[in-house]
């Protein structure tokens, strides 16, 4: 039954790691804006011709 000591040690460590991850996420500002990222991820990537800013402008101008 002494395995319980080890098990609990591991479980608390894992939980603490998640707590750490949570605190890091809060600190880095991920919870500050919960709207814009949701919209941003839906923007399509530009097609290949427009991907590289300057080339696109040239082809447009031509």
């Amino acid at each position: 039954m002494y395995i319980i000591f080890l098990m609990i040690a591991i479980s608390v460590t894992v939980a603490a790691a998640f707590l750490g991850a949570f605190l890091w996420a809060v600190r880095s500002g991920q919870y500050d804006d919960d709207y814009t990222p949701a919209v941003r991820m839906l923007f399509d990537n530009e097609t290949a011709t427009t991907g590289k800013g300057k080339d696109a402008k040239k082809s447009q101008g031509a």
């Binding site: 039954m1 809060v26 814009t36 941003r40 399509d44 800013g53 447009q60």
Partner: protein, 801 residues
């Protein structure tokens, strides 16, 4: 082409406005103005037309083009240094507030700024705060270029004097989230360790690992006690220091009793302790605090004149050169130039030009005021028309308007309301608790010493009014959200309770009771023939004066050609139509002596044909819709009106408000403030509803200051709540609903008391054990949360909110 399209009015491809006045067709698309077309062309050229695919007509109208020279002050290194948040050899970082942002297209375009200006390396939008954070290479582009670009595509950032007030980087307060995270983590783990206690068949396990579990729980509770629960202890201590009992005192006592008893039990190996209840309590109460903390990111409740005033102004040097000078450095005697739509930052004397000053925001005066050379113009007015030259007579901080902020109400910090329901309840709680605890001591000490200690601590623990402390935040938090949905935005939850106590309502007149954009007009005098009306309309069509525009819109028919048109600023117009000389203007201009002029207090415009006076137009204020109903609903309260205007509307107001209402006219901003102070001295609970900078003092002085605004992202003075003008007709509903919520709080108190009574009954008998606590505590907390949530929702539905 235009005529053909008239029947079927097109909407602008860029901004979605209907192209009624003007229609420009370019690139197979319709635009309402050249401004919109220019933006489209700019985006099209840079392959940014995705902007139009994401949302329909996402742009903001470009109808009011302003000279880009107004950004010249951004080239000033001093101004730049005050605005940017970070600068190194290579890059600059800056955050702008752009209130025009409203849809996903806006986000897309603003985050693709680098395609329009290669000097911008990155732009990130925070939509909720309506902010865009930019990083740019300062050797490739300048701050001015970036701002000009933003303005050109319709997202002119709001840069005001407040931005230069030192670096007030309002870091979002994340403490509560940290506290909640840690409390949740500890609660979960302690719960897991305490679980064997709850089951009968684990007695064996308990004997082997009991003390290990106990000590581990103790270790896990330490951060909860010292970090997460700290707020409760400090608040209770502060209360004691001020010789008052708040709700946090019984909470702190309970938590302390829980923690110490648990340590004692673990150390002496007499029991498993209450660490699970302790961490759980803190966790639940922090949820309540978090819920209460709802804030409206885009709204600002603490603005003063500095967020209304510009950062810089054009100063004319002796040599005649123009120079952008920071408003703060403006000195008495400086000559300044104010262009169309610019704000006058300091009290100044008019030197050259025709000043038509729009004071609508400052005084609530709906019509622009005309000033002649030599007159002093007070700060805060906006020039409409040609550019003017002025000489500064007072520094910005000494102006007529800004002196309001020197009043003591603005330097005082808001003191927390002492007599909130929760604090009153807390006081009774601690009294009852102490009596019961002492009673149980008296009963048990002669019989069983150990039992006496157990009963005593149990009473202190169970008396911890956790459910009680959850009731207020949840009821208030939900009320705040209900109000928010109805376009009434409160600064914080404490305002709900203040609103419930209001017995006096004071209104500002112009702009608050009246609709600022509308005015009724009526004609008195000889009846006009259709042809005369058309002639008048023709003359008026050449004037941009707002009064001319109003009369113009009210008249029917096509216009005639006008000869010899002339406009005398501040006086009137003259023009020749079909051989008739028509004069339109003030009584003095038409040649009516002051004695004969009628309704001198009202805004009147006279008309004469070939020197014969025909009659005059009078402008009336239009009162807001639903005003009558609100006033009927508020009839149980004392009503007062404070107006900066003269008393020409007195009769109409009396009719609307009833005879008992106090009407005060010609009130200066300071007088308004003093009036509120006077009411408060008579122990009235005053709510002030106002809209302009001139109400700022009164709003601040009142118990609940409500700023009315037509667009919530616009400037509104410092206040406790912001009310969208479209929701004005629900004002009385908001007040009565806040009263209802106080009743809900009382009911919730009753629910939570049931649990406390059950707990106390067990406690005095010494039967209160960790397992009872572990069951009772979450049930009481959860049921209070659910009860509060549901009852507010039901009440809101019933009230029609």
């Amino acid at each position: 082409m235009e005529a053909a399209l008239q029947t079927n009015v097109q909407t602008c491809y860029h901004c979605g406005d209907s192209c009624e006045d003007e229609l420009i067709v370019a690139h197979d698309k319709a635009f309402c103005c050249a401004g919109c077309k220019t933006v489209y062309e700019l985006l099209e050229e840079n392959n940014l037309c995705t902007y139009y695919n994401l949302e329909e007509a996402p742009g903001t109208t470009g109808k009011k083009p302003l000279a880009e020279a107004r950004f010249a002050y951004l080239d000033d290194a001093g101004v730049e240094a005050q605005l940017i948040s970070f600068k190194d050899d290579n890059i600059c970082k800056i955050t702008f507030y752009t209130p025009q942002m409203h849809c996903s297209s806006c986000i897309w375009l603003l985050e693709n700024l680098f395609k329009l200006n290669p000097g911008v390396s990155e732009s990130t939008v925070n939509f909720l705060r309506k902010e865009v954070s930019l990083t740019y290479f300062h050797h490739k582009t300048t701050l001015r270029e970036v701002v000009t670009l933003l303005a050109r595509i319709g997202y002119e950032p709001e840069i005001t004097l407040a931005n230069t007030d030192g670096k007030k980087t309002s870091k979002p307060n994340r403490t509560i989230i940290y506290k909640l995270g840690i409390a949740g983590f500890c609660f979960g783990n302690v719960m897991l360790l305490a679980f064997p206690d709850y089951l009968a068949f684990t007695g064996d396990l308990q004997r082997t690992f009991g003390s290990f579990f106990g000590y581990l729980s103790f270790v896990l509770s330490i951060p909860v006690f010292f970090y997460s629960a700290r707020g409760f202890f400090t608040s209770a201590l502060e209360g004691i220091k001020q010789r008052m009992v708040n709700i946090d005192l019984p909470i702190a006592t309970g938590l302390l009793a829980l923690f110490i008893t648990s340590i004692y039990q673990v150390v002496t190996a007499t029991g498993p302790g209450y660490f699970d209840s302790f961490t759980g309590l803190v966790f639940f109460m922090l949820i309540g605090k978090y819920f209460q903390q709802k804030t409206y990111d885009t709204l600002s409740f603490d603005r003063d004149y500095t967020s209304y005033f510009p950062v810089s102004v054009t100063v004319l040097q002796e040599s005649g050169e123009e120079e952008a000078v920071a408003v703060r450095n403006l000195k008495v005697g400086n000559r300044i130039r104010i262009r169309n739509q610019e704000l006058i930052p300091a009290d100044a004397m008019l030197l050259r030009g025709t000043a038509t000053i729009d004071y609508s925001f400052v005084s609530g005066e709906s019509e622009p005021v005309e000033k002649v050379v030599g007159e002093v113009i007070y700060a805060g007015g906006r020039q409409v028309g040609e550019s003017i030259e002025l000489e500064v007579v007072k520094e910005v901080s000494q102006g007529y308007l800004t002196q309001l902020w020197n009043d003591s109400v603005f330097s005082k910090n808001e003191t927390q309301s002492v007599n909130t329901y929760a604090n009153v309840a807390g006081k009774w709680f601690i009294i009852v608790t102490l009596i019961v605890a002492a009673g149980s001591l008296v009963y048990w000490v002669p019989r069983d010493m150990e039992m006496a200690m157990r009963a005593f601590t149990s009473v202190l623990i169970i008396a911890c009014p956790c459910a009680l402390s959850l009731a207020t935040p949840f009821v208030h938090g939900h009320t705040l959200r209900v109000f928010g949905k109805n376009k009434f935005y409160l600064k914080n939850t404490a305002v709900v309770e203040t609103l419930a106590k209001i017995d006096t309502v004071v209104f500002d007149k112009t702009g608050t009771l009246t609709e600022p954009s509308a005015a009724e007009l009526s004609y008195n005098g000889k009846a006009l023939t259709a042809e005369q009306q058309r002639s008048i309309k023709s003359v008026l069509s050449h004037s941009t004066h707002p009064l001319s525009q109003r009369i113009f819109q009210s008249l029917q028919g096509e216009t005639f050609p006008v000869d010899n048109f002339q406009e005398f600023a501040g006086k009137g117009l003259v023009g020749e139509v079909n051989g008739n000389i028509i004069r339109i203007g003030s009584a003095a201009y038409i040649g009516i002596s002051a004695g004969d002029a009628k309704d001198t207090l009202k805004t009147t415009v006279y008309v004469s044909f070939n020197g014969i006076v025909l009659g005059y137009y009078t402008f009336f204020n239009v009162y807001r819709q639903g005003l009558k109903d609100i006033l009927t609903d508020l009839s149980d309260k004392k009503i007062a009106v404070l107006s900066g205007d003269n008393n020409h509307e007195q009769a109409r107001l009396e009719e609307l408000l009833g005879k008992e209402a106090a009407l005060n006219f010609n009130q200066s901003p300071v007088q308004k403030l003093e009036y509120i102070q006077q009411l408060k001295n008579q122990h009235h609970q005053v709510m002030m509803v106002g809209d302009g900078l001139n109400d700022a003092g009164a709003l601040r002085q009142s118990d609940a200051g409500i700023a009315l605004t037509n667009s919530i992202t616009n400037f509104s003075p410092s206040c406790d709540a912001i009310l969208d003008a479209t929701a004005f007709d629900r004002l009385s509903k908001f007040l009565s609903f806040s009263k209802t919520t106080m009743k809900i709080i009382l009911a919730t108190f009753a629910v939570s008391l049931v649990y406390n009574v059950i707990g106390l009954t067990l406690a005095v008998q010494g039967l209160f054990s960790p397992i009872v606590s572990a069951i009772l505590m979450p049930i009481s907390s959860l049921s209070v949360i659910i009860f509060a949530t549901l009852s507010v929702k039901v009440a809101a539905k019933r009230a029609g909110l």
